[in-house]
């Protein structure tokens, strides 16, 4: 059962990722990206990583996609205004991507996976288990990531702020 679900979700994610790249309208790209993210969340559920699935849906489909849609609407880019590259550059781009895929698949084909050490714990991805690991072994990176968020927030606000108009010096000469 989960096998068929895996192949179905893999097909959906690859197909919608291709549509993200090829869609003319940026709004359609965002919508297909949401489909991709939901199928990846389904993959996490198949892997028995419920915490990651929930966090993935909240962060990506809830926050990041809203940001993308908001910026697209704000900048009024929801029309097919993108100038097309010439076909030579497009062909070279597709060729480069396919060659990268070929190289990676060939490298993975030659490699051998080391077997799992011992019997893997099935409920490792549950919230209780992950919370224990996160707050016992990874407390310092957790706090550092909060600092990263703070600096990113300050940076985004500073960048997004409208620069004040420079007042002309000789304004009140009359």
């Amino acid at each position: 059962m989960s096998q068929y679900l895996f192949y179905f979700l893999a097909f959906v994610s690859i197909f919608s990722a291709l549509l993200v790249v090829t869609a003319k309208n940026p709004i359609h790209s965002v919508l297909f990206l949401i489909v991709t993210f939901f199928s990846i969340a389904g993959q996490y559920i198949i892997l028995n990583a419920q915490f990651l699935a929930i966090v993935h849906i909240i962060v990506y489909a809830g926050a990041i996609m809203v940001l993308f849609l908001f910026v697209l609407m704000l900048l009024n880019l929801n029309k097919e205004s993108e100038p097309v590259k010439n076909y030579l550059m497009k062909g070279i781009g597709v060729l480069a991507g396919c060659l990268l895929a070929l190289v990676m698949v060939a490298a993975l084909h030659k490699s051998t996976m080391s077997p799992a050490l011992g019997i893997p714990n099935e409920d490792i991805g549950l919230v209780a288990n992950l919370g224990k690991v996160l707050f016992k072994d990874y407390v310092v990176p957790f706090e550092v990531s909060s600092l990263l968020f703070l600096s990113a927030m300050i940076g985004a606000v500073m960048l997004g702020k409208r620069e004040p108009k420079v007042e002309p010096v000789n304004e009140n000469t009359n």
Partner: protein, 101 residues
């Protein structure tokens, strides 16, 4: 647990290469950010798969941290794009390839 790990490897490779192709093909800066998100997600999926197959929780913690970094990256990147749009009235990356004026 019957899905072989090689299939996860293949799926992640294909998703990553689609993201690379998108970065190479498109010229809209917002769509470039979306393709970067696809690449990050393919790596996340592979790391979660290895973590589950080897019974090590550290991989899933790292996926969590990658999500944190991705969220911060998107916030700063979109702020940059809004600022660039305010100056250039476009998000075409070929117009600001010099990053000068």
């Amino acid at each position: 647990m019957k899905i072989p790990i090689e299939h996860y490897l293949l799926l992640s490779t294909v998703l990553f290469c689609i993201g690379v192709m998108g970065v190479l093909l498109r010229r809209n800066a917002i769509i470039l950010l979306m393709c970067v998100e696809i690449m990050l997600n393919s790596v996340n999926l592979l790391m979660a798969a290895f973590s589950t197959y080897h019974g090590d929780a550290a991989g899933q913690i790292f996926v969590f941290f990658i999500m944190v970094v991705a969220a911060a990256e998107v916030a700063v990147g979109l702020a940059l794009i809004v600022m660039i749009y305010r100056n250039f009235k476009t998000t075409d990356i070929n117009l600001f390839n010099k990053l000068k004026w």
